[in-house]
Amino acid sequence: MLETITIGAVAYDPKVVGIWEGLRTYFREEAKVPVEVVLYLSYEAQVAALLAGRIDIAWNTNLAYLQAEHLSQGRCRPLAMRDTDLEWWTEIVARKGGPVRQLSDLRGKRLALGSRDSGHAAILPVHFLAESGLVEGRDYQSVRFNTDLGKHGDTGTSEVDVLRAVLNGEADAGAVGSPFWAGVLAGNLVPAGAVEPIWSSPHYHHCMFTARVGLPAEDAARFTDALFKMNHEPRLRPILEAEGLKEWVAPHAEGYASLRDAALRQGFFAPRS
């Protein structure tokens, strides 16, 4: 059994510090699981640390989880995820009454995409469109906003850029993740009805706690037991809400096939140099 379980997370925003202060305090003082937290500025650095055994568990995006899994030949294992990581999808949005009203209208048009390492705003839309016979560069021109590289789209800034391009006429349509689009609608951030989804992708899952190769089973169990206990503690609700979930759930590893295929085809599984 490890003396300390070291957890990695990516600080894509200053608020991440506060979230992990809260989680660390809970694990150490209430659950009596000795954890330490290491914050990274990119998922590439975090995956490298996990593969090198410098951290025991990584709080990964879907792409980072699959990179760790692939580069460890399947020996990095999924441990847990948020309920809100299940069933994401990508919306292709376009101006109401504009030149793009259905997917086939994208031929010869401009599609705005988020950061190239964002599963939901770049990798998967390019993949799903290719499956529908629309190939980037051949059938449509992409307008890419690589504004938060290394964060796998966590900051949402590239999706703001995508939507701005559609609203400004720099692009005819754009790809954004379902949580982002829901936030835009809930916040009334764009004129009602000005931009609408014209296509929704198949569903896929998002973040995943990922264990390093060789993490003792009892340490993985100590971690997940403590994590799932949080679901039943109302006073811990603020931490969960800050993290954007109602409850932690067991891994649903079946929701990653499309991204695994897309990331492989688009070269995201190359070993880190």
Partner: protein
């Protein structure tokens, strides 16, 4: 406001964004360069959605003019400037001492002239503002008009201000003669700076905007203030980059320190019928106290869209009202940053 001349007029077929207006709007903007104006004619109900669109995209809704059937929305293509380098809101306090003026400059942003209603800020109000300013966080006072030296009590006004904080007085410099020259001698040199308007290196352009013979008189006023021992800053209102560069060269030739030269473009406000279109989104507020209320910025101190509150005192509450209005203006950026939650 004057009568801004848009580059393009748009009478869209779709009456709303939900009906497809956005397509017509982006097509029209596609024909404009950054900084050019589009006049969009649409229903009054369009305002909120148009503001939302402008904020998200970084274009600027400059003006709305209700008509009998439609409202004319003036949209400037292009993003407002960054807020990052501006002084803290409330650290400067502008006092509009009066709105009447001995000149009638054709670009005056607050329509001052000899016929303008003075709307004088009473001496009691000036004294109270000066007293309450330092504890409210103000670090600098700026007295402007109109022409402040038209006031018979200008010495008391400036003494009250200078007693409280370092003070700059904006003037055309044409009235430093006779009794008013003696007034200068009552004022503390170490607490008061004069900012005198001089629009061009030679008389032609200055006189064209401000009146025949005013350039020579302004030069004499600058000399008089300097002779009395005051630091003088030159303020030049220019219409384009070429005029700006000519003035900078003049300032260098005259040996005037760069920090004593204030250059600004003509603002599309007041009497001006062309110039830089400005909205609240363009300007970090500089709290501006007038006889009728508190405004967002001195450049729009007669315009409803820059009006913040009629409750002027306690001054700290007036300043807080401007700060809250600024927070509201910035709220949208924060909302964008928080729509996405992840790890």
């Amino acid at each position: 406001m004057g009568s801004p001349r848009p580059t393009l007029e748009l009478h869209p077929e779709a009456p709303s964004f939900a009906a497809g207006l956005l397509n017509e709007l982006v097509a029209a903007l596609g024909e404009l360069a950054d900084g050019e104006l589009l006049a969009l004619h649409g229903p009054a109900e369009l305002q909120q959605d148009l503001e939302r669109w402008a904020r998200f995209t970084g274009n600027t809704l400059v003006e709305m003019t209700p008509g009998s059937e439609t409202t004319r929305y003036l949209v400037r293509k292009g993003a407002p400037r960054s807020y990052e380098e501006a002084p803290a809101v409330g650290s400067r306090l502008w006092l509009y001492s009066n709105f009447d003026c001995n000149l009638a400059c054709d670009y005056c942003c607050v329509r001052s002239s000899p016929r303008a209603e003075p709307r004088t800020l009473s001496l009691e109000d000036v004294q109270r503002a000066a007293r309450e300013a330092p504890p409210a966080g103000v670090r600098e006072l700026l007295v402007t008009g109109g022409e402040p030296f038209l006031r018979p009590d200008i010495a008391e006004v400036l003494l009250a201000c200078a007693h409280a904080l370092p003070t700059t007085v904006l003037t055309n410099g044409l009235l430093f003669a006779g009794k008013r020259r003696l007034t200068l001698r009552e004022l503390p040199r170490d607490r008061i700076v004069f900012q005198i308007s001089l629009d061009s290196p030679t008389s032609a352009l200055h006189d064209q905007h401000r009146g025949q013979g005013t350039w020579e008189k302004a030069r004499a006023g600058i000399a008089a203030a300097r002779e009395e021992g005051f630091r003088v800053r030159l303020a030049s209102t220019v219409s384009d980059a070429r005029a700006e560069e000519e003035f900078r060269a003049f300032v260098r030739r005259e040996g005037i320190p760069e920090q004593d030269c204030v250059l600004r473009r003509v603002a599309l406000r007041g009497f001006a019928d062309e110039g830089v279109a400005l909205s609240r989104a363009d300007l970090v507020p500089e709290v501006t106290l007038t006889a009728s209320g508190i405004y967002w910025h001195p450049v729009g101190a007669t315009d409803d869209d820059f009006f913040v509150t009629s409750r002027r005192f306690p001054l700290s509450e007036g300043i807080q009202a401007v700060q809250l209005a600024f927070e509201e203006e910035r709220r949208f950026a924060t909302a964008l940053a928080s729509v996405f939650r992840c790890a």
